[in-house]
Every structure is written in C-alpha cells, then in structure tokens.
Amino acid sequence: MAVLQKRLFCSAVPKKWPVKQVTKTNFPESLEEIKRHISSSDFVAVSLQKTGSFSAPWHRLLPFDTADTAYSKAKSSAERFQLFQFALCPFSLENSKLVAHPYNYLLYPRDELKLGMPSYSFSCQSSHLTSMAREGFDFNACIYHGISYLSREQETAAKIRIGNPSPSTLVVDSSFAPSVADSIFMERLKSRVIRWKSACQKPKDSRNEVLMNSLRKLIMGSEYYGSRPSINLDVCSERQVQLVLEVLREFSDELVPLLIPAKSGGTQAVRVVLASSKEDKEFFEEELRCREEEENKKFRGFREVIDLISASQKPVVSYNSLTDFTFIHSKFLAPLPPTIDEFASSLRPVFPHVLDVSHLMKVVRPLRKVANIPVAISYLNNHFFAPVDIEISHQATENEGRNHGLNVIRICHLFAKLCSILKIGSSSTMSGNDVLLAPALEECTNVFNAFSTSSEESIDEDISVWTESTRKVSCEHLVFLWGFGSGTTAGKLKSLLNKSHYVSSKEFDIRLVDKSCAILVFWQPGLAETFLDVMNNSEEITGSLRELVSEGLRAASYETYKRVCKLPIWEADLGESLDRALEDSDCLTEAHSKATPKEIYWSNDDMINLDEL
C-alpha cells in the first residue's frame, strides 16, 4: 500500500485534475468550446454515470456469455436505467504527453417540451445512488439543473408533434408524371397563387388597407408569416405536395414553400411565403435556417454533444464499450434493436471506431483479472516504465468543491499507458488513424462488430494471449443445473455427479453461477447431450443421479439460457428463469432456427466467485 501510494505520487500527476462541470446554465456557451476541442483532438474518451447496473447476480456479464446473451443483458440494463452524468474528454497523445480537455455533463431527462419525452420513468438502484452520494454527487443539481435531451428518433417524433413548418426544397421527384386530373389540380392552384400574388403586390391603397387585408384573409386565406404575406394551400396526400411544389417551381424567385406537418405524420398543408425580391428571399431562407437551428438545439439538448462527436468521426475510447454504447444508443439515437448484429450496424455509421480499454487491457496478461481502472493504472506504474504526462487544458474552475467525472481522465490515462507499453502508434506524434491501424487494437475496436460476425479466426490468433488454463469450449458442451438444495457448493455437486457414474470427474468441470444454479462444462463433444438425455429420460436414470432428480434437480442446455436472455426472463434466480423458459418452450412451436454454435472461453481462473456476486 505504501509503495503504491508513493508510486502514485511520483507519477507526475497533479492531485487535482480540473474537470469542467457543465449544467443547463452554462451548456450553451460550452458547446463552441467542446466543438473546438473535439476537432483538435485525436480521440474522445467517454465515461457514464448510471443509476443502476444489474438487478441479480446472474444478470451481469458472465464469462460464459456469448455476444448475443451479453447484448441482451446490456440492453435490458440500458433500457431500464438512466444516465445522470456523462463525462467526456477529447484528448491527444504526443510523445507520452497526454493533452486532455475533460468535461462533465450533468444530465436529467426533464420533459422540457411537455411531450412525455425523453423518458416516462426510469429505474434506480439505491446502492448506486448511495455510492454516488458518498462521492458527493449533488442530486438536487442534477434534477434541477441537469441538461435534458432527446434521442434522434424522439426528435423526429417531437417535430411532427409540435408541427412547426419546415422549409422544403423545390426539387421534385424525377419520376414525376402528372395525370390529367393532376394537371387540372395544378392549373387551379397556379391561378390561385397568381391571383394571390398579384393582390399582394398591388400598390397599397392606404385608406382601405385594413379592410382589404381582412377581406383577402377571408376570401383567399391570405395571411402573414412574420412581415411577409403568405397563403396556406391544403393538401390531402404526399402526391399533392409534389404537385404544389411543381407549381411553385415557376415562382421560385419569390416564393418560399413551407411544409406544415400533420399530427399523424405526413403533410397537412403547404404554406407559401412571398418575398419581395430575390435578395429578400435569400434573406428569408437564411432566417429560416437560423430559426430551425435554434429550434433543433432546444430539441436536442445534450445530444448536440453526441452529434458533435459523431460528426467528427473521431475514435471513441470507452472502458466498457458494450455497456456504454447500449446506453448511448438507447438514450441518444433510438430504441435498441433486438439483436447485436442490428445494434452494431445501427451504431457503425454514427460511431465508426469504438475502442474498448478493458479489451485492450487483456493484452497485458496480468491485467486480465483487474476490473478497476485505478488498480490497473497502479499496476502499470509499478511494473512498466511508461510515464505519461497529463496536461489539462483548463484551469481549476471556480467550482472547486465539485470535481466529478474524474474517471474519464483515468480512462485517457490508462489508454495512453497501454498504448505506450504496447508500442501502439510508435511514431513521435500519433494520430487517431495511426492508432487504428495498430494490430493490437483490432481486437478492441468495435468489439460488438467483432463479436457479431463469426469471429473464430481472430480468436484463434489470439489464443496465445490467454493463459494455458483457458480452454475454448463450444456452447454445446455447456449444461445448466439447478434445483439443488441451497448451500450446495460446486465441489459437493461435482462429487455427487461423479458418484452417479454417468460422467466421470475428468470429463467435466462445474461452477456455481448464483446460489440457485450451476454451470457444467464437458470437455468432450457429445457428453453434454448424453447427460441431458439421461436427465430428461427419467426411465433410464438410476443411482444417485436419480436421487438428485427426485429431489428436484433439473438440467437444460445452453439454448435454454439463450432463450432466457432473449425473451428476456429476468428473475432474481437463474434457476427460476430457466424453469420459466422451459415452461414457455412447451407451448412454443419449435420454429427457432438452429443458430450456429458460438464458442466461448472456459477459463479455470475466471471462476465465478460467489463472494463477488
């Protein structure tokens, strides 16, 4: 401990890293700054503060999860919980110097537009809130001054709901071919527009101005849009919108069409605004653009920052990318799709490069089991010479007391150290692109993509990285066992099963997943199937296994576990969930296509430790 502290002290890290705290009040002015920092940096690190993680021991990511089940778990947690803090740090690496610009945004899903968005309700775990409180998190600041947001999908829905007119280009479908009826419609429209236009452009007779105006309004539906005259043309279909736009093309020098959305989607009317000259028209269009921009900012709130990162296409560094990006996707993009493949392909255009530090850590062997950033950093400090100078762009702010979001700097720091140790981007100046070319990073880039494609090759290549005690096993060799009495240990179960003579102890290993359920791995193909057959045909079953089954022991294949995660059935005990999945499957017609068997690692020291659970 003493050594550790001394090391930390030596490593030229100022005790206090100033992180810029952003709330509703200083959010607008911070935008330009962060935009500048993002574009001048090579990477963007993110770190999220969530209101909860997993509700039961087995809900968290376990060593035997495949990409699919891992995604289901991450999805369920991202859908339920909320983000209260989003720490963000654009940074660059130069000769072991880390230049960082850390920001910490307080978020709260306030219904700013009174539309029931962004979220009707969200879950919290009191343990998370308590530990946040212990770190001095200010819940009042979060709820009163947190920045709200809308996801991309919610923004689209909100715009329709609010019904603000949106400018439309006069470009018409090239396949456009008007029918006879269309021509008649267009002729009438055209004459109406001409009549209205000429009425508006007539030299003004000041005496009757008021009267004429109201008459015009009555007869022609003429109104004013700001200071400019306008007219509303009702439409019944998108086809008619096309026709109206076609007509208006002739007058494109003076007329600006605005589409008024209908409450149920689609377009309700086209509002035509008359500009007094070509210059005036350009001026008006500029005005519209500005107004839309303002409007959008109001809608997006914090998502503006997400969009900035996305637009920069800079690699995003995260500690646990699957968890972080399921949250980011569900809060700021759209609801999470059902499968990891869809998720990966939906995320790719927005964040093309996601670097996962926890994956990168696995390359340094002893770090494989380290699950926490400060420990990892101090380990690296003690065992490697990789000094990293941290330079933080802003000075300590006036809010001395509040300095949250330090974690994001730790992530940057860890990433920088790992890059330096692994000689990634060894040139003196490394840019994001150099780094992405490094082979060691392939593994940690877009892990969900790598996950989702059948990635046997890449895994095979990397096998040397793992300890010799890790073995690759197919999911088909795994069996879940539950229904044994509470207080049973893995060792007891193993000896009981061994005694049953159906399996010999050399052929399998067993671990407890939670207090209700154990996982059994067979080392040889076919054994799992045989075992399940024996378990499920109680006719043949004899001896001590029969005794166990009579006591309520049950077994199921990995397929059942997959179904549990996919449905999902999140009971507190895994055994309970498996029971329910089996019940449900009874009335399920077996329409499930046999998915390609996935392989996972079975590592002896990746023991699922009940103490940790």
Binding site: G52, A56, D111, A133, R161, C587
Partner: protein, 739 residues
C-alpha cells in the same frame, strides 16, 4: 463520509437545541410566530425524534399520515382506467406500491387539549430512503422506479433530493427482518460474525514455501512461550525472549471476556491463516478466535482455555456475542419501521386522504410482500391498522359534509382551504371552527404555516385539520369528548370508518373490515360511466399498425360483424385498444376469425375488412382475463404492446387459444345476465363537446401518453368519452399525488 457524519449530526442537533432553547426562552409558546419550519427528521436526528414521537402518538386522539413517492405509474397504461375492474385496479395499485419508493413520510399526531379547547398537532416530516444496510437481503427491494413527471412535480415544490438520498432513514420490513434473523439462526450469514475456528474450519494450506515453514515455526515458539508464561505461578511482566519491540506490539496480551488471550495485530491474512494452522496443530488449550465487526473492531485472538468444558464455554460465549452483535445490527437496520410499528401497536385512528395507495406502500415497505388479491390485502391490513379513516371518502359520502363541500373539489389542498380557512388563510376563528395549534419542538402557533407546501409532513397536517373540522361539522363535540373514549368507536363515524377508495376515478370503495367492494352510487360521481362494462364481452387488441386509431378499428368491426356489434372502442395507449362487443359470442367469433385470417393468405383473407387491423403481422388479441394477467406481471414497459410481448406472448396463437379457453370457462361460469344492460356510451349527448374540450386539454394533461414513436394516435382521434375519460384519469391521478 462516515467519519464526518456523527460530528455534523451532533453539531446540527446542538444548533437546533440552542436555537429552540433561545427561541422558547424569548417567547414561551406563543401564537404570534406563525411561521417556523416543521420537524424535519433524517437519520441524524431520528433516534431523538422517535422518542418524542412515541410520547405524542400515545397521547394522540388520532394520527394523520401522508406519503410522497418516487412516482405512481410506470407507464401510461398502468393508470387506473375508467372501466378497470376492481381486481385489476388492485393489481395496478400493487404494482405501483412494489415498484416505487417512498421518499418522504409525514406523521402528524393530533391531541385534544381540553384545558385550551384546541387540538394540538405535532407535524413530523421524515425523509426516508431504501438504503441497503444489511448485505444479504434480496436486491430487488433496493431497485425502484422514478417517474419523471412526479420528480418534476416534487422539484417544483423544492424537494430536497440530497437530503432524501444522503440522509434519508432506511428501513426493513417485518418480513425482511424475520428473514435476516432466520438467516442468522441458520448460520448462513457469515458477515460481521465472530467465529471460533475449530479443527476443520481453517483452510488447509499445505506448507510448501520455505518462508511459510519458517514463519510457522517462529509463531509456534512464540505461542508456546506465551503459553508457558501463562501457566507459571508467578506472574511477571511477559516478555518474549529476545523479541523486538515490533513483535511485542504484534502480540498484545489481554483478557478476552474472562480468558487470557493474545491479540494478533498487524499480520497479513496469509500470516493469520498460518497462525491459525499452528494453533490448531500444536495447542490443545489454545483457540483461535476471529471477532468480525466493523473494520475497526475486527479482532484476531488466540485464547487460552484450561479445559474442554472451558473451551466449549468460550465457543458458546463467542457465538452469543456474535449473535448479539448481528441482532443489534438488524435492529438498527429496522430504522423507520419503528414509526410504523408505533402507529400499529398504539392502535390509534389513522387518518389519510385518498390513502389506499399509501396504505399499500406502508404494507409493502414495512410489513411484507403485498398479497395477490385485494381481499387478502385488506384482511391483513386490518390486523395491523384496525382503524383507518379516509377524509376523501368522508367528504364525499357524508350527507352533511357533501352539502358543505357544495360539489367543489375534494383534493387535499382545496378541501383544506374550504374547510379550514381559519388555519389556511388565518381567518379569524369563528365559533364553529375547530381550533388547531401546532407544536414543533418548543414552538407553538395557532395559525401555522410551514411555508412548505406538498411535503408529506404538511400534507399530513392538512389532512388532520380537515378531519378535525369534518368531525366538528358532523356533530362530534370534542368539548364533551372524554379522553378515555376512542374517536374510532364514535358512532357518528362508524359508517365511514375503514372504507377506502380502491380508485377514486371509478369511485370503487373497498371495506377494510370485510373486503367487500362497494361502488359509490352514481349520484356522487358522474365519472362512473363505465359501470356497465361487460367484461366477458371485452377484447384487448394490441400491436396493430400504428396509424390505426380507435375510429378505424371501430369501422373494421362494423364492416365485419355489423354496425351494432361493437359498443365501444377505447384506446388505452398508442399500441392497444379495448373493444367491447355487444354479445359475448362475438368475442370467440372474432378470435377464431382472426386466427383463420392469419393462417390463410388467399385474396379473400387479404380483402377482408379485418385484414387492415392485422396488417404487419404483429396484431394480437386476448380477453379481459389475459389483460388482468398482464397487469399482474412485475415487468414495467412503457408501451402496452411491449409489455404484452414481454409477458411471454411469443406467438399470437398462444394468446388466441389461451383466451379462448378462458372464454369457455367464463361462459360456463357466468351466463351473461346481471350485467347485460349497457349504456351506449358513444351516444351520450354531450360526447361531442367533451371531445372538443378534451382535445384542447390532451396536450397539457397527458404528456405521458405520448410515446416516442412517430405516430400520434393518442391525440385528437379518439371519440369524446374516451378522451375525456383518460383526461379525467390523468387529472385525478395527478390530483391524488398533488394532494
């Protein structure tokens, strides 16, 4: 953090004492200071406040309560709908009580002071928070939902979330306490325990490393030295031979209870394991004892016992000690439940305002899991709280009070303003007004205003004032009322006691004494317009194309089964509708037709009027019974279609089929007779106007109904009644919370 708290708490306590002392010295209980804060209780001053509250509750004539929660409904469709059946209503309340947290608990004992002819109220406002104090309780009770709308509401009234989360008092329900004690007895709780290591417990670490062997040898010598010294007749100062100061510090001789012992300090856990092994192997009369406590108190000892009996005694003592410690910890974790236990054990009259949900929360948080039916629930509630009175029921059902209320709103704050202007607006007190004085610590006032609206303590105070005044109006004269006579036994209240609104929207009342459900007669409530819903005729449809609205769906059915086939279509949320057929048979006709249409893909099926409804292939249908089951699931999805999906409706046929069987049994049991007269709701003369009003309204009052999808089915396109009803429902739930 932990280290700072006691000092901070002591400081604040000292300050408040100083403040109250000086204040009371300057002005001994006067009426002039009408604005002082109410009693705020957090974990720092809980013990003291509890002792004081105990005194007040014992002396009280009744106790008013009010709760603030983190939310009420987890999804728009979970709100109580105009025509929900009472069993479904209960399931909705149950879900709410299970999923949301109580964050503030107001308790206000009222005592009649016969010398001053006034009530004295003692408002207490407790911040509570479900902090996990014991490690082994199930995690699910420590996960709860925030409803953003409710949080906004609380924030509007300056709720202090930091106080709640950081300083809130935690609690254990009776069930959780029993569970923790049971675990303690069965011995599977190993945390914070003291253990004697007998022969087997120590892990078998083979001594392989040279260092380990040397260390063990050294320890063996040390211990035998100490052992020999103990047995020497002359007791001189014990000194390890040639040992450094360091090892002296590591081996401290002391008495453990009544046995001599060495306290092992500064060893690593590996070293301790080795010592344990040494003790076990080499010394019959030494025992290794580990007293686990808080970090500071954790002790590792080697204890000397002179016989086997003595040793057994030691083990027994250690286990007792451990047990006591663990029990104390559990006792401490009970926390706020002491207040609820106090209310229950004193068997006082409990007064609440529209408090069915409050009682459900109290039950779920402090007693145990909620039973699955309303009947079981009320029968166990009455065991704990024999006398509950709901002021909202009292105001709505008592003839005299109804006249006085003159059909004005019976929400808490408006009833308070109307009935108690002398308190709320500091009007000069007329003779007919029941006087209420407030006492907080040593401050007293007859016209008190805490300035804190909508917090639980003040709301409880308002509820109590309303009740006191209502008693005055119905002819209970407190001046003649003797202290021995319980208010709960008063015959003037007998017709109104132990009745609660299962749902105010539907005016469904439940009797706590027998579980009977009564519906308030139509006279009281015009809202009860769905009283004639025939549940056997109702089908629930969800997952249809999002552009379809109730109107379209009605058309689909009219085209298929005839114009009179459907009596109403109610849009529950953007993804689901209720359809009531005019005949029960039509339900099964529809379900089987739906199935055939789905199987066939021929032109006739495609052109069928119902195919519009089935477009997209995700449309599902089920009977009202399935709806009830779905309401009963613990899952909380915002959209009904997602909820139903999560419920396990993997294949539509399952649903149709299961609902069919449900139908058959329904029909057997229940030949549609008593309920078969229905009112065609859509032909109500005021429908159109209401629709107008409602659609103006809808945008404001029902933000929650709108989902994040592109459709906007909820607004504008419903028929009048449906909107109005949902608006009512929303408004009412809002009011319930507001009050």
């Amino acid at each position: 953090m932990n280290r700072h708290r006691p000092t901070a708490a002591a400081l604040s306590r000292a300050l408040s004492r100083a403040f109250s002392a000086s204040a009371s010295a300057a002005e001994p209980s006067s009426a002039s200071a009408s604005s002082f804060p109410q009693k705020l209780v957090t974990r720092s001053n809980f013990e003291a406040a509890l002792a004081e509250l105990r005194r007040h509750v014992r002396a009280a004539d009744f106790v008013a309560v009010d709760l603030e929660m983190s939310g009420v409904t987890s999804a728009p469709w979970r709100e109580s709908l105009g025509f929900d059946r009472s069993d479904v209503l209960y399931l909705k309340v149950k879900h709410s009580a299970e999923k949301f947290a109580v964050i503030q608990f107001g308790v206000c004992p009222f005592r009649w002071d016969s010398s001053k002819q006034t009530f004295v109220a003692y408002p207490h406002n407790f911040y509570i928070f479900p902090r996990q104090e014991l490690p082994t309780i199930d995690r699910s009770s420590y996960e709860f939902i925030w409803q953003t709308g409710s949080i906004d509401f609380l924030a509007r009234y300056q709720f202090d979330f930091n106080a709640c989360i950081r300083e809130g008092i935690s609690y254990l329900s009776r069930r959780q306490e029993d569970e923790a004690l049971r675990r303690l007895n069965s011995g599977d709780e190993d945390e914070s325990s003291a253990t004697c290591y007998n022969s087997k417990d120590a892990g078998d670490i083979p001594l392989v490393a040279m260092a380990d062997i040397l260390f063990s040898e050294r320890m063996k010598n040390r211990l035998s030295e100490w052992h020999d010294w103990l047995l020497q007749p002359r007791n001189r100062e014990f000194q390890f031979q040639g040992s450094s100061n360091d090892s002296k510090q590591k081996f401290q001789t002391l008495f453990f209870m009544m046995w001599p012992a060495v306290n092992l300090i500064g060893f690593t856990s590996h070293q301790l394991r080795l010592i344990q092994l040494v003790v076990r192997k080499n010394f019959k009369d030494l025992t290794y004892v580990h007293v686990k406590g808080d970090n500071v108190f954790s002790q590792h000892l080697v204890v000397y016992t002179d016989s086997k009996d003595d040793r057994d005694l030691l083990i027994k003592e250690v286990n007792n000690e451990h047990r006591k410690r663990a029990e104390k910890k559990i006792q401490a974790a009970v926390g706020f439940r002491h207040v609820v236990d106090l209310l229950s054990s004193e068997r006082k009259l409990i007064v609440g305002h529209n408090c069915f949900l409050d009682i459900a929360h109290v039950y779920n948080k402090f007693i145990g899991p909620l039973p699955s039916t309303a009947e079981e629930f009320v029968s166990s509630v009455s065991k704990y709280f024999p006398h509950i009175i709901d002021t909202k029921i009292l105001l709505n059902t008592h003839q005299v009070l109804r006249q006085r209320m003159k059909k004005s709103k019976t929400s808490l704050s408006s009833a308070f303003t109307l009935l108690c202007p002398h308190i709320s607006l500091s009007f000069a007190a007329l003779e007919s007004y029941v006087k209420v004085e407030v006492e907080v610590d040593d401050l007293r006032s007859s016209s008190w205003n805490s300035g804190a609206k909508h917090d639980a303590g003040y709301d409880a105070f308002m509820t109590g004032c309303i009740f006191a005044q209502a008693c005055g109006y119905i002819g209970i004269d407190f001046k003649l009322h003797s202290p021995s006579e319980s208010l709960a036994e008063n015959e003037k209240l007998q017709k109104h006691i132990n009745l609660l609104y299962l749902s105010w929207t539907n005016a469904d009342i439940i009797d706590l004494t027998n579980g009977n459900k009564v519906t308030a007669s139509v006279e009281y409530s015009q809202k009860k317009r769905y009283s004639n819903v025939v549940f056997e005729n109702v089908v629930l449809i969800w997952g249809f194309p999002s552009e379809l609205k109730a109107r379209h769906i009605r058309e689909c059915f009219s085209k298929t089964f005839g114009v009179t086939s459907v009596t109403f279509v109610y849009q529950m949320d953007p993804t689901a509708v209720f359809v009531q057929f005019s005949k029960t048979k039509l339900v099964s006709d529809f379900l089987s037709l739906m199935e055939t249409l789905e199987k066939n893909n021929d032109p006739i099926s495609v052109l069928h009027p119902l195919s519009e409804l089935l477009k997209g292939g995700n449309t599902r249908a089920a009977t009202y019974e399935t709806y009830k089951q779905i309401c009963g699931t613990p899952i909380s999805k915002v959209l009904f279609a997602d909820q139903a999906e999560a419920f396990g409706a993997k294949r539509k046929t399952d649903f149709v089929e299961s609902s069919k069987t449900a139908m058959d049994t329904q029909e057997d049991k229940n030949p549609v007779s008593e309920n078969s007269v229905f009112v065609d709701l859509l032909s109500a003369p005021w429908g159109e106007k209401a629709a107008q009003a409602a659609s103006n309204y809808a945008g404001k009052t029902k933000p929650g109904m709108i989902d994040n999808l592109e459709n906007d089915s909820f607004h504008g396109c419903l028929s009048g009644d449906e909107i109005l009803n949902s608006v009512y429902a929303a408004e009412e739930t809002q009011l319930v919370r507001t009050s």
